[in-house]
């Protein structure tokens, strides 16, 4: 299992176990796509069922959403730079860019929580209407993923700091990279189909 080491490949792909973990994670992301697709279709069915409560135009704050979007998209870029530093075997650079990524993610999260608080002040809670139920659960699931990602990545940063760049830490970093970019892609869909569509239609 641990045998079959191929040093011509990038560090995170060198052992057979790492290759399997990365493939397994891709398949897991496939499951995540189905999960978010289901949430999107639930939203697609319920998004006009306001039940007399607030509508999209009543509650959305496009400026804040734009800032969230910029924060998260930038964090995807810095994550890419972090992986690039890992490929150059630059541990310091990797950790620096990695931490910056998480700070941007935390900024996004802070904005999103504020957004939720604002909604609730406006009288738009999860219990108000089917539209708001589906909105909160879709956004909340994405936000929960970002939160989970930040904690998970923190664990991995500690491991890189302690153990340096090994096939195992490199693989863990790479997998979080995949996860982080995936969350970005989901956000692009949320931005388009929830916010833009909600404001235009």
């Amino acid at each position: 299992m641990s045998a079959n080491v191929n040093t011509s490949l990038p560090l995170e792909y060198q052992t057979e176990q790492s290759r399997m973990n990365i493939l397994g994670f891709w398949i897991f992301l496939g499951a995540e796509i189905v999960l978010f697709a289901t949430l999107f279709s639930v939203y697609g069915v319920l998004y006009k069922n306001y039940a007399g409560g607030p509508t999209h135009q009543d509650i959305f704050m496009m400026k804040e959403v734009m800032i969230q979007t910029v924060l998260l998209l930038t964090s995807s870029f810095t994550m890419g730079v972090a992986i690039w530093e890992m490929r150059r075997n630059n541990k310091k650079g990797l950790i620096g860019w990695f931490i910056l990524t998480l700070l941007l993610g935390a900024g996004f999260l802070f904005m999103e929580i504020n957004e939720f608080i604002h909604y609730i002040h406006e009288g738009a809670t999860m219990q108000t209407s089917a539209f708001l139920s589906s909105l909160f659960v879709l956004l909340g699931t994405h936000g929960a993923h970002v939160t989970f990602g930040i904690f998970w990545a923190t664990m991995v940063i500690i491991q890189i700091a302690k153990r340096g760049l090994t096939p195992v830490t490199a693989r863990k970093t790479f997998i979080i990279g995949l996860y982080w970019h995936f969350l970005d892609v989901v956000w692009i869909f949320i931005f388009t189909f929830v916010y833009l569509k909600g404001m235009v239609l």
Partner: protein, 663 residues
């Protein structure tokens, strides 16, 4: 008297007042005490922890799945018998309507999710790594976690009827009935939470097996040289990954609706109850194929072995299972034609549904042609496979009848449907797991199940099954509805219901013989058997029985389909030379999966009882487990050459004295 301390109604936790449930409570208590006492008396706690609970060995995990599945079979079977007793005569009062609702809900959920699934996943665990010539699955510890999450969910679901109240909205739990408005108790929380936990485990199994099969096949085993059971497991795993997240979402939304007052499926505030039906069946129909495809794979292996021929039409078999997998995603609306989606939508789903009969028919003919001109051996495993063919065809043909949207308005919600899916699931899945168990039992334990008792088991079960479910087709056509706890004498249903009840007793007798067979074989069966007692064709038979924990001293090389058969015929790669022995790397045991099972169980229990603060606090347990796992760098261990040499010499020596166990 209502006792409330810290917002918890303590007097409502244990269900009281019903003699059947009181009996169950006493039985559960005594059984638990018996197990604890027995383990303590025999000083087996340490053994249990070290050899089983912490194991990451795919074969042991498989055996644990199977043990759990047999127990769940018993539980679900008892529920079935209770329903049959209640409907044996008109206006019976063994169960009241509420209790009857709880019983058919439990029967459905347990039989599909806690019996069929773990039984199949158990056999997959035991067999697949061996069939592809690997030493374990891709992620052994994740595999253990899958099992323990399933176990956690199953146990939570099973205590429902004695602690807090059982779910009672059917295994489909349609809204609005399953919502808080019409089911205010906590019963349906059990459904939402325990299936969620078990479902997570299943999803991980799916990912694990895809990676295992794609990446860990031994040298020379190309995709088109994989045994059919491996193929079906691969495709099943793909369906699991594609379908289970839908169920995850559906159950999560159900939980939100019930616990936090959202409006996904409610009638009020813009919710849509039909959304639940769609999401449920978007998972639920692929789920049917998740349980049937591995069963098809097992029948393929068994029919090929005991016809002593290569599987007929191997390539068309592969194409068929892929086609079935694709179509399985496109038929979900046929479960609710009567909801009125309109003629066009119903027609579309009628056509896709009927199309499934085509690849399934191809498979049927392939099995028949495999047997043609074969030298068939009538072993118990083969008998199950033979009985599967005609019985499953009855289920399939009535399925095509039900597929017709217009005609379905006549059959919908009647016992005709109930008879149909029992004719698919029992010959399809139950016959398969019995066949698989008889077939692979020697591989798991090193001795066989008794063939004579096996035949009693077979005949009683098959006859009982037909007597139970055949009358239900006619009852259904006469208008008897499903899920009704009683009927009037004037309906004229009484004789057929009585016949059906008699059949269920024969069925139960068959199951009893099966249990006795396990007991008999453990005590008396001959231990001195060959590692290849059936003269089989695939790689799992190329190693010892029971299989040593590293599976293969030297990984086999595959040169054709039916690799082991080829090795035997050409006498290649069977012997092991001393210089070929190398140290083998294996993963270490871990107690973490079991502890995660406990943690998920605790969090789940608190959520079910809607004790939100306790649930939130105990989530720390799960997080602690995840953190521990992240920092866990245990890299496994190596097995020494001497140990391998010793193990290998014991079983290879025994090959000389093979007894004939087949006849």
């Amino acid at each position: 008297m209502e006792v409330t301390i810290v917002g918890i109604k303590w007097d409502e936790i244990l269900i009281t007042g019903d003699p059947i449930i009181l009996g169950s409570q006493i039985a559960i208590l005594l059984t638990s005490l018996g197990i604890i006492g027995g383990l303590t008396y025999l000083k087996k706690w340490k053994w249990l922890w070290r050899e089983w609970i912490t194991t990451v060995d795919h074969k042991r995990i498989g055996i644990m799945y199977i043990v759990a599945a047999v127990l769940m079979f018993f539980r679900g079977g008892m529920d079935g018998l209770m329903m049959k007793a209640q409907t044996a005569r008109p206006e019976m009062s063994i169960l009241d309507s509420q209790h009857y609702n709880e019983v058919f809900t439990a029967h459905g959920v347990i039989m599909i999710l806690f019996m069929a699934m773990p039984f199949l996943i158990g056999l997959m665990n035991v067999v697949i790594p061996l069939q592809i010539g690997a030493r374990d699955v891709a992620f052994p510890q994740l595999n253990a976690l899958s099992f323990w999450l399933f176990f956690s969910g199953a146990m939570l679901f099973n205590i429902a009827f004695v602690v807090g109240g059982a779910p009672d909205a059917g295994w489909t739990s349609y809204f609005p009935l399953a919502g808080k408005e019409f089911s205010p108790g906590i019963g349906n929380n059990y459904y939402a939470i325990s299936l969620q936990i078990a479902g997570l485990g299943t999803l991980m199994t799916g990912i694990n097996f895809i990676v295992t099969i794609l990446k860990m096949r031994t040298k020379g085993m190309t995709l088109m040289r994989m045994p059919m059971f491996t193929w079906t497991t691969l495709i099943t795993s793909v369906i699991i990954v594609a379908a289970f997240p839908i169920f995850t979402v559906a159950l999560a939304l159900m939980t939100f609706d019930r616990l936090y007052g959202t409006h996904f499926f409610t009638v009020a505030a813009g919710g849509s109850d039909m959304l639940w039906a769609n999401l449920f069946w978007l998972w639920g129909h692929p789920e049917v194929y998740i349980v049937i495809l591995p069963a098809f794979g097992m029948f393929s292996e068994i029919i090929s072995t005991f016809s002593r021929k290569q599987l007929y039409g191997y390539k068309s078999m592969v194409v068929s299972i892929v086609a079935i997998a694709v179509l399985s995603m496109l038929v979900w609306v046929h479960h609710f034609y009567t909801m009125g989606s309109g003629a066009l939508v119903n027609s579309f789903f009628s056509i896709t549904t009927m199309m499934i009969a085509v690849p399934t028919g191809v498979k049927m003919f392939n099995w028949l042609f495999t047997m043609r001109k074969g030298r068939i051996k009538m072993t118990t495993a083969m008998l199950w496979s033979l009985a599967f063919v005609p019985n499953f065809v009855i289920g399939g043909v009535t399925g095509v009848m039900l597929a017709m949207g217009a005609a379905d308005y006549q059959y919908h919600n009647t016992l005709f449907l109930v008879a149909h899916f029992h004719y698919v699931l029992i010959p399809g899945v139950v016959f398969a797991v019995f066949a698989g168990l008889y077939y692979w039992w020697p591989k798991m334990f090193g001795f066989m199940l008794n063939e004579k008792l096996g035949k009693w088991h077979f005949w009683l079960f098959v006859i009982g099954f037909n007597v139970t479910f055949m009358p239900m087709f006619f009852l259904g056509l006469n208008g008897a509805v499903r899920r009704a706890y009683t009927y009037s004498a004037e309906s004229g249903f009484a004789p057929l219901f009585m016949l059906s009840a008699v059949g269920s007793v024969i069925l139960a007798a068959g199951f009893a013989v099966f249990c006795y067979n396990i007991y008999w074989s453990i005590r008396y069966a001959d231990r001195n058997i060959s590692s290849d007692p059936w003269d089989a064709r695939t790689l799992e038979w190329a190693t010892s029985s029971p299989v040593q924990h590293y599976n293969f001293a030297k990984l086999p090389e595959v040169k054709s389909l039916d690799a082991f058969w080829y090795m035997k015929k050409n006498n290649e790669g069977i012997t092991l030379k001393d210089e070929e022995i190398e140290e083998i790397h294996m993963p270490s045991n871990s107690g973490l999966p079991f502890l995660m099972c406990v943690a998920f169980g605790i969090v789940g229990f608190f959520l079910i009882f809607e004790w939100h603060l306790l649930a939130a606090v105990s989530t720390v347990l799960i997080i602690a487990g995840l953190i521990y796992r992240s920092f866990d760098y245990n890299d496994g261990y190596h097995i020494h050459k001497d140990e391998i040499r010793k193990t290998e010499s014991t079983w290879k020596k025994m090959e000389g004295k093979v007894n004939n166990h087949v006849s």
